[in-house]
Amino acid sequence: MKINGMLIENTFAEAFNMKASRVIVTADNEKWAKNAALSFTGFATSVIACGIEAGIEKKLGKNETPDGRPGYSILAFSMSRSQLEKQMETRAGQCILTCPTTALFSGLESEDMIPLGKNLKYFGDGYQISKKIQGKRFWRIPVMDGEFMCEEMTGRVPAIGGGNFLLLSKNRSSCLAACEVAVDVMSKIENIITPFPGGVVRSGSKVGSKYKALIASTNDAFCPSLSGITGSKLNKNVNCVMEIVINGLSADDINKGIKESLIAISKSKYSKDIVSVSAGNYGGKLGQHHFHLRKILK
């Protein structure tokens, strides 16, 4: 199958059930809201070692935030409820509370709620003030620039993590540029994030390793430098592979992200250097969700 001349391999991405939450961070201006959002989503590329996978979902205008200030919507994903709870509170405390002028609100309504500012309130040392408005509780914690306002709880919903595709390219510059096109498209789609740096990952992994202590290691089948000596899946024209990992609140959101970004790449000037588009999977036995590239692009 080809779209606009770009070859789509007959394969699928394998993704997993996860738990997700959304928060909205606001500040006096867009710059400080972004500083806080970047800090919150820092070191949150993979659950393997970071605890959660998080990213900025979208920028919010003054009319879209609860306090009428500019803000950012953040999505965070984790494999377990407890890990999500722990990471959300820790990051709220260390990255948002500390950042000047910010406030933090829940971005999800759900029956299942997890703490956001519930324990952070104790930073107020007894001077914290609780406010309940329309069934939601907010905490006002006095800080040196005024006060930090934080919603007590945020929603937690089932989600999917690990949707992906691989761009197999003739050269690194085109591969990276094509990835940037894809990430740019996906940044405009709601309910999804691309958690890796700049949305792109170069170190795709396989399950297991020759070293017993490691649960994952380099995906040698897609490493161009090893094509002669391993069971490579690359032909001789492929000199660079990059992956885009997509986490979303539903399969439809991920489908949309994959479809729109691949169409955008195929229409870009970089498509001539893309040898094919593949996807990362583990044989279909580990993940609960399979995203078949050709089905999505039909």
Binding site: D67, G68, T101, I129, K131, K132, Q134, D145, E147, F148
Partner: protein, 263 residues
């Protein structure tokens, strides 16, 4: 399904306890019409006192109401009641959840012991709004109350949490022993306001009470604008217009953490 409509037929000679309204569980109108309620010293069918139409018991409309209909919305749970006309005492007493909209005035002891839900009164309310119900310690446990005009004296006693917005004035001896919560009063405030209160947030235009409080530094507070936007959005009206209030925090006796925004 259409809203259950109760048109009051009588200009009551006796007071009529309407607390039965909160307990309707069936959409069967015939059954409701034949339900017997106390009126004076006799039992009357609902159909003798009201013209009943519609069948959705979760959405009730009372028309031609008068100030002898008491305890409307008593212990109300998850129902919406719209009232056209005045009502007697005990409106929304011990209300749990749901919504009451009153296009008229309410009598004494409205919202006494309210635990949740929303009450909007497009008129005035008598004495003892959110007063202490018998054998209970808190006058308002939670909920949202909007009164477009004035509120009588001895109102809002021992408020635990919730939001009260008063478009007019409030009488003497109000907001006593407040535990927490937010109150906006756009009119005048009576004597002995907020005595023995522990914590509270008061938004007011009446500067006469400022002398009892400590003027705070002019710091930016996210809360005020957030609260202002939310209240204006809920009421669909620019109730709190000022974006730059003067804040007072703490009483001069330094015993209470009362926050005052003068707008």
């Amino acid at each position: 399904m259409s809203a259950l409509n109760l048109k009051c037929k009588i200009n009551s000679k006796h007071r009529l306890d309407m607390s039965w309204l909160s307990n309707i569980k069936s959409d069967d109108v015939t059954k409701l019409k034949n339900t017997k309620i106390n009126y004076g010293n006799k039992l009357c069918k609902v159909s003798e006192l009201f013209i009943v139409s519609g069948n959705d018991h979760n959405e009730i409309k009372i028309t031609n109401s008068n100030n002898r209909l008491d305890n409307i919305g008593h212990n109300l749970k998850n129902k919406k009641i719209l009232i056209e006309g005045n009502v007697g005492f005990g409106l929304a007493k011990n209300m749990d959840s749901g919504e009451i909209i009153l296009k008229g005035n309410a009598g004494d002891n409205a919202c006494s012991g309210m635990r949740g839900g929303s009450v909007s009164v497009y008129g005035s309310v008598g004495n003892g709004l959110c007063s202490l119900p018998t054998s209970q310690n808190e006058g308002l446990i939670d909920g949202f109350i909007y009164v477009q005009k004035n509120v009588g004296s001895s109102s809002i006693i021992r408020m635990r949490r919730g939001n009260v917005i008063i478009g007019g004035s409030i009488g003497d001896d109000s907001c006593l022993e407040m535990i927490s919560g937010s109150i906006t009063i756009l009119g005048r405030i009576g004597k002995n306001f907020c005595k023995k209160a522990r914590r509270a947030t008061i938004i007011t235009r009446d500067r006469s009470i400022c002398k009892n409080y400590i003027k705070a530094n002019k710091t930016d507070l996210t809360f005020f604008n957030f609260y202002r936007l939310n209240i204006n959005k809920i009421l669909n009206k620019n109730i709190i217009a000022s974006k730059d209030p003067q804040r007072y925090f703490g009483t001069k006796s330094k015993k209470e953490l009362i926050e005052l925004f003068v707008v």
